[in-house]
């Protein structure tokens, strides 16, 4: 781990072979963050992730806005997964205010969340593809993502930032014949993502490139508190949807895929397998959903919470996403802490990158399912 190495520039005194590279923030392989790496030839000897390039104080902002008006800006950290980041917030506020969500709204929430998870994973996968130099894998997911964005747009009226979930349900019912369109497009989508296997997941070059690189053992994964696909790729079967089912996940038929290798390949494969499960969930939910009914509980304009605290978590596209809401009897939260999966997985980055080859940097880094904007909040 990087923690063993002394901070600062002491390494450079050891030898002048060490070169310091700023990977990011304006680098095609960094996202909105900076990783300061020190390389000795082809090997990375020191990694220092430096997030914060797009930090905008969502937690501070949330203390000034009431429980409803927090919604549009709380989804900004992960606009590709905006339903899932609002999910724990809505669950927490419902617990705080003691609201009971109508049955149909629960199902629609699950559908929206799963669609959004697929959208996020497609986007993530696209960037993973281009990080590995696979331009087709950039274009295909970004194209196929449109299918789901189209569905989400039919549901919510916005293509990316939906602001769809509110405490007490969802904002609007789906349009008529949405079920048919959804089923058709999700089926086609599933057919499409199966084709990724040929060019990407079964590609021997990809396998040889990502196998046995950045191996995160089961013990390390648990010790470092990683979550989501990183954790499940290391052999820990931990999915909030299974372990702490929220809304109607306990009634739906799905599994959470788990792999044992813990290398970059396994970490990159888990989200892909997740998409199949998401398709299953969506189909199942469409079948079990009540065909009509209320979708939203009416709220007072400025609801006030009690003097208590809530911690709710959901399984987002990247892993467990928790919201810690401290209420002091005001319309605004006293403190809102978003425990984001990206930030939790960031701890694994220095652990994994130090000692790797420079060429493995993008493969390992992006397989951590890390979304820089979310970690910065």
């Amino acid at each position: 781990m990087s923690a063993k190495l002394p901070p600062g520039l002491q390494l450079e005194k050891v030898d002048d072979r060490i070169m310091t590279l700023n990977v990011g923030p304006q680098h095609p392989g960094s996202g909105h963050m900076r990783i300061i790496i020190k390389v000795d030839g082809d090997y990375i000897v020191h990694t220092d992730p430096d997030p914060g390039y797009v930090h905008r104080g969502e937690e501070k902002m949330a203390e000034y806005r009431n429980y409803i008006t927090n919604i549009p800006h709380l989804e900004r950290p992960v606009i590709h997964d905006s339903c899932n980041i609002l999910y724990p917030y809505c669950l927490g506020i419902e617990e705080l205010l003691g609201l009971e969500v109508p049955e149909r709204a629960k199902y629609l929430r699950v559908i929206a969340a799963e669609l959004n998870r697929c959208v996020y994973i497609q986007y993530w996968l696209a960037i993973y593809g281009i990080f590995l130099g696979h331009s087709t894998m950039f274009m295909w997911p970004t194209g196929d993502r449109e299918l789901l964005i189209d569905l989400l747009e039919k549901m919510t009226g916005a293509r990316v930032t939906h602001a769809y979930f509110v405490p007490g349900g969802i904002r609007n019912d789906v349009p008529p014949n949405f079920e048919d369109v959804c089923l058709r497009q999700v089926n086609y989508f599933e057919k499409r993502i199966k084709e990724y296997a040929d060019v990407f997941y079964d590609n021997p070059i990809l396998i040889s490139r990502t196998r046995d690189t950045g191996v995160l053992s089961r013990e390390d994964a648990i010790k470092l508190g990683t979550t989501g696909s990183v954790l499940r790729a290391s052999g820990v079967d931990f999915d909030i949807r299974k372990k702490e089912p929220y809304d109607v996940y306990d009634e739906l038929d799905f599994q959470s895929p788990t792999l044992k290798e813990g290398d970059s390949y396994a970490r990159s494969k888990i989200p892909w397998l997740d998409m199949f499960e998401s398709c299953r969930i969506i189909r199942d939910a469409l079948k079990k959903m009540p065909k009509s009914g209320s979708v939203r509980v009416k709220l007072k304009p400025k609801p006030k919470g009690g003097d208590t605290e809530i911690y709710r978590r959901v399984e987002s596209g990247r892993g467990a996403l928790g919201m810690y809401i401290v209420s002091k009897g005001k319309p605004q939260p006293y403190r809102l802490k978003i425990s984001v999966p990206s930030f939790r997985n960031l701890i694994a980055m220095p652990h994994l990158l130090t000692g790797e080859k420079l060429g493995n940097m993008p493969a390992v880094y992006w397989s951590l399912n890390y979304w820089p904007v979310e970690a910065d909040r």
């Binding site: 392989g29 281009i130 331009s135 087709t136 194209g143």
Partner: protein, 434 residues
């Protein structure tokens, strides 16, 4: 708004243009014409068909096609034409441009996109021209502390070396810029220059990412040069010549890829690596080292490097065709010219206005056929070279070196022993089929 300079005034422009025209006319009359006259005194005019061709005769001949034709023919057989136009630079640059367009369209199709579409009405055919215009009008930024002479020279040298490589590729019988006995060896000598230019340009830019990229490019080119050299040895052993044209002639009956598929595969993979194409585009791996050794190039410098890369691509594809696919050999597509046209000439508009032009056709029909076959095969090979970009990710430098030094060298020795077995088994060689 920002297109025109802020202090633009039409009057200044017109004045500037008139000034320029004035100076040009002055210089031309004062310096140019005397120089031309001096040159005309000392230069030996070419003698074609027993006639001395001075400029006045050339002007005269332009009005008489039957007299102009021998001039054209003799010009087309001169070295200058070969270097500038047909098998040389112009032809290769045209193919390079076409390759860029084909690559973009094909990749777009594969990725369910549209690709260039709006420029030039028909499927964006003029996109390249637009890109060239854009590149030429962009600012060239040279990083501070860069080694300026090397940095300026590197793109030009890169493209020019690729041009020198093109000179060695025979396109049709007799149509090669440099017809030399040791053509294959000359190819190896020429491609040895690319790593030097790469590493020099990388070093000269005084930046970290280009430096890493240049070192990677060096390792990659250097490591794949040996399999490249060894994989061709089988053919040399079977044909006993290093002349590329003779190698093509030796494939009149069957291309060598039939006997040496292993060598062809090795050669193809090394081509991909030498060209820095995916899956071997490590020197330009943008997710690790921004754009590799091209990071600091801007504007037309980048354009020249790209031109050089695609010239190189054409040259390598042509080399593959020449070595393994039989070059210009193939059944006739264009029928031979009727004998009377060759001997008597052609009669245009019989009756009303009869013009007899002897000496047609300008080009032998073998040449036309050969060029067509060569072009077809080359475009096929180029397509196959372009395809992996759509379906493969990039590999890692240590894996690349491992492939080059372990697998490809071993395979190329397998190929050599296949060739040796063919020779000593009597299949090919003296007493064999050939």
């Amino acid at each position: 708004m920002s297109v025109i300079a802020p202090k633009f005034r039409l009057g200044y422009l017109i004045k500037g243009v008139i000034d320029n025209i004035f100076w040009i006319i002055l210089l031309v009359t004062l310096i140019g014409i005397p120089i031309v006259q001096i040159v005309l005194i000392y230069i030996d005019f070419p003698i074609i068909d027993g006639e001395i061709w001075n400029p006045f005769r050339v002007l005269d001949a332009l009005t008489h096609p039957e007299r102009a034709l021998p001039l054209v023919v003799s010009f087309m057989q001169s070295d200058l034409f070969k270097v500038v136009a047909f098998p040389g630079f112009g032809f290769a640059a045209l193919i390079a441009a076409a390759t860029i367009f084909i690559e973009r369209k094909m990749l777009a199709k594969l990725q369910l996109r549209v690709g260039p579409f709006y420029c030039g009405k028909v499927e964006g055919i003029l996109q390249l021209m637009a890109d060239g215009l854009k590149l030429i009008s962009k600012e060239i930024i040279i990083p501070a502390k860069a080694d300026k002479p090397i940095f300026w020279a590197a793109p030009v040298l890169f493209a020019a070396t690729a041009g020198a490589f093109v000179a060695l590729i025979p396109v049709a019988p007799g149509w090669v810029v440099a017809d030399i006995d040791l053509g294959l060896l000359a190819v190896f000598a020429v491609i040895g220059f690319f790593p030097i230019i790469t590493i020099l340009s990388a070093w000269s830019s005084n930046s970290k990412f280009p430096f890493i990229g240049g070192i990677r490019a060096l390792h990659q080119m250097v490591s794949f040069e040996i399999p490249l050299i060894l994989s061709v040895l089988g053919i040399v052993m079977l044909t006993g010549t290093l002349n590329l044209a003779e190698i093509v002639q030796s494939q009149a009956n069957f291309p060598w890829i039939i006997f040496m598929p292993v060598g062809a595969v090795v050669f193809f993979i090394t081509i991909l690596a030498e060209l820095e194409r995916i899956p071997f585009d490590l020197p330009e791996a943008e997710s690790e080292i921004v754009a590799g050794w091209l990071t600091e190039f801007s504007g037309m410098m980048y354009g020249l490097v790209q031109l050089g890369t695609y010239l190189k691509l054409y040259a390598f594809a042509g080399l593959f065709v020449v070595l393994f696919l039989g070059g210009w050999n193939g059944p006739d597509i264009v029928p031979p010219f009727p004998a009377e046209i060759v001997t008597d000439g052609i009669t245009i508009l019989p009756g009303a206005l009869t013009v007899e032009i002897p000496g047609l056709p300008l080009l032998a029909h073998e040449m036309i056929n050969g060029t067509i076959w060569f072009m077809l095969k080359t475009i096929g090979v180029i397509l196959v070279i372009l395809l992996p970009r759509g379906v493969f990710p990039r590999i890692r430098i240590d894996m690349l070196l491992h492939i080059g030094w372990y697998k490809l060298i071993a395979l190329s020795f397998v190929n050599i022993f296949i060739a040796l077995a063919l020779v000593y088994g009597g299949v090919i060689g003296p007493g064999g089929i050939l």
